[in-house]
Amino acid sequence: MSRGEGKDPGAEGRPRPRRFGPARQTASAIVLAAAALLAAEAAARVPAVSSRLPLPSRGIAHPSLDLRVELADRWARSGPAECVILGPSSTGAAVRPAVISAAFRESAGRGLRAFDFGVAGMALPGASALGRVIVERYRPGLLVVGVFPYHVMRNAALDADDLILSDPWVRQRLGHSSLRGWMADRLVSFRAFLGARQWLEKPTEYAARARAAANLEPTGDRVSDAPVAEENGAGPGTPGPAREPLVAAPDMFRDFERLLDLGSGTTLVLVEALVRPGSHGRFARGGPEYRRILDDLAAAARRRGVPFLRPGPRRFGEPALWRDRNHMNRRGAELYSRWLGGRLASLVRDGRIPDPAQASK
């Protein structure tokens, strides 16, 4: 590296290698590094190579979001992005894109290509940010967002937003550039490297992520009724068990208003993210208060012309439809998805929203 450093008496008499100036050597090394990066990038984009690489990652600290983004990218590349369903894990667990498509076909005469973008522990600021990312990245014809009263309660333990909002990749997509965000967004080789680094350093976490990935369909649907925690690793959770009473936060209604501003070519529809009826004990006045807050949210949406779909309190109340207090099982998800697909088709048929197939073209 340097001239005249580290004199080695034993080296005398041997021909010394030719020395170049530091500027030229640095420039050569940078050019060579850039060439190697380009070669690695080209190789990582070859399917035969990428299929042998570790599960790629954007390094998002929220494991389930990291997986969903990767899946959503593949899903969007393989066909028109007609509908993305975003919401907390209770929405993710209740959504089965294939069933929604079938129900939509029954009413509209054709299917709806949908993706389940459920992210555990996501509150409204996170939903608003990810909604903007989804709209800007995939240009879906229809964005359905799952919302529930926990979203406007201060201590609901929806704790994923810090991870979402501070993530360099998310921030990059929202216009706050950084080198890491850019690399995670643009370089396939870097995403493969991130996966490899997790494989090397955190084999247990990598194995959990690989198991979770294997449990997801290309549409984000779950193959089996594995606990949501499996996909989520040791990450954030959904509304916790009943302890202290929930406190309403008026400022969080402003987050809700921001969510309604998504727009820009994508139709927004809100849908109630269901939790098991009868598990509203943390609300000061129980179920009535829960429904009152839902009414407020629906009214705010209506004022902005955004449809808010609500299945009614008793439609999915049967305990056999629930895996736990926040998540439906596959049978419940099938019923819920059939209902949601039918309602979306009705909105299109009635002309209340444009046809997602047309809007996504």
Binding site: Q25, A33, F193, L200, E201, P203
Partner: protein
């Protein structure tokens, strides 16, 4: 990379570019301002503490060097610096302990806003100040008459946070003369340091399970042994990486900083290990603790063969080293055990000096090497895990039925780490790859740059461990 980091990098580049063109005094003032700007950015309080210690030691230096009672002023100066160091180390420790106890009792008192964090670089610049005062007293270095030069000696940015601990006699004369920056040597050291830190140390240390250092995640002897190897290699590359970056930055400015590491894992004895690991601290302890203690004992027993003469100096030196790392029991026990072992080595050496490697049969050499490694691992387990966990692991070593083998793949990272050490051994005392032909060398630098880019952007870079001491 954040905007602040990019700004700091640009400012650093500007300082490197401008420095050779400036006369001595404006250049030194520029460096001093840059050093204090960084400390101020971290904490204005830390800057005030640094300035206060600097001013006090600058004045004490005059009193030691030019007053009629230099011994008293030296004692006062050493007491002052040691008191500052202990005040922050002990007070910070006890305040945190008290807050922890209060939290466990449910009182939730917190630290009461005392905020007794160890000021940045305090453990290092205080030792520099002591060495300056002692060297002035010994007439090994002249009294520094220029307050800006002395302040720069204390605060020179590349070495401020975690050393190397410089001697005034080696550092101050460099400020007086203009030297051309050595871009290639400096840049090479910085790349090597970043590689050690970002590509080797961070992944190695990051692979250890949460709670490992507290000892709570260590359950089985093989897991602990593998973890210790990973931790030792990670710690070494973390600190050696920091030192390389510091020395490289110094070279860019035309300043030579001391070496801190000389292939410590190739040492044959613990004493040799300590002459190769954190060399600037080891030599400080040797010159200001070990040798004075040994001289005092030899004055009492000129033969130098008594047990006290052999045992006490290493014991005192290693206890001082343990205390410097922190007032926690693990460091004090570690220092005591290490001092005891080194005393044993010294007693053995007095009776039968160590010969060249070929003088002993192979089996004896292997056995001696294995024993040495076991001792290093044992001592390291106390340092890394704490006394209770180290005892638990030691007990588990004799219970193979309960062993659980480590599942971590991070041990693979030891391969490039060891390859780098071998390359360093072959290039000693220069840089690895230094004597390679240009093509392979450029390829190695390119690969290192690419690896640094990917590793540094893939996870938050951990703070340097030795900044915390």
């Amino acid at each position: 990379m954040t905007a602040a980091a990019m700004g700091a990098l640009a400012a650093g580049g500007l300082v490197v570019a401008v420095s050779p063109r400036l006369p001595r005094r404006p250049r030194n003032l520029l460096w001093l301002a840059g050093s204090y700007a960084l400390v101020l950015a971290v904490s204005p309080t830390f800057a005030v503490i640094l300035a206060a210690v600097t001013a006090a030691d600058f004045g004490l230096g005059f009193l030691v060097g030019r007053s009629a009672r230099p011994g008293r002023w030296l004692a006062a100066g050493v007491a002052f610096n040691v008191a500052v160091l202990l005040a922050f180390k002990l007070a910070g420790f006890y305040v945190r302990e008290a807050a922890g106890l209060a939290a466990r009792l449910g009182i939730g008192a917190g630290t009461g806003g005392l905020g007794l964090l160890l000021p940045i670089g305090l453990s290092y610049y205080v030792l520099q100040a002591v060495s300056y005062l002692v060297d002035v007293r010994r007439r090994q270095t002249p009294v520094c008459a220029d307050p800006a030069d002395f302040a720069l000696y204390m605060a020179f940015l590349p070495k401020l946070a975690a050393g190397p601990i410089e001697r005034a006699g080696a550092f101050l004369p460099q400020l007086a003369r203009a030297r051309a920056p050595r871009l290639a040597g400096g840049g090479g050291l910085i790349v090597l340091g970043l590689f050690r830190k970002v590509v080797l140390a961070d992944p190695l240390l990051g692979s250890l399970p949460a709670g490992w250092a507290a000892g709570s995640a260590v359950t089985s002897f093989p897991e602990a042994a593998a973890g210790l190897v990973v931790f030792a290699c990670g710690l070494y590359n973390d600190f050696a990486g920091y030192t390389d970056i510091a020395r490289g930055t110094g070279r860019l400015l035309g300043i030579d900083l001391s070496r801190n590491f000389d292939l410590p894992f190739f040492a044959r004895t613990l004493s040799e290990f300590w002459s190769r690991w954190h060399m600037s601290l080891s030599s400080w302890i040797r010159d200001y603790v070990y040798l004075p203690a040994a001289r005092a004992l030899i004055r009492r027993d000129p033969s130098g063969r008594s047990i006290a003469a052999a045992a006490l100096p290493p014991l005192a030196a290693m206890m001082a080293s343990g205390l410097w790392h922190g007032p926690q029991a693990r460091y004090l026990v570690w220092g005591g055990l290490m001092g005891a072992w080194m005393a044993g080595e010294r007693l053995a050496a007095v009776r039968r000096p160590i010969g060249p490697p070929g003088a002993k049969p192979l089996a004896a050499r292997v056995a001696s090497r294995a024993l040495f490694l076991a001792v290093v691992a044992g001592l390291f387990s106390v340092f890394a895990l704490g006394v209770p966990a180290a005892l638990r692991v030691a007990a588990d070593a004799f219970n193979p039925a309960a062993w659980r083998w480590p599942g971590s793949r991070a041990l693979w990272l030891l391969v490039p780490a060891m390859a780098l050490e071998v390359a360093q051994l072959r290039a000693r005392p220069g840089l690895p790859f230094e004597r390679w032909r240009e093509g392979p060398r450029t390829a190695a630098v390119a690969a290192a740059l690419l690896a640094i880019l990917f590793f540094s952007q893939s996870r938050l870079v951990r703070p340097f461990i030795y900044q915390g001491f």
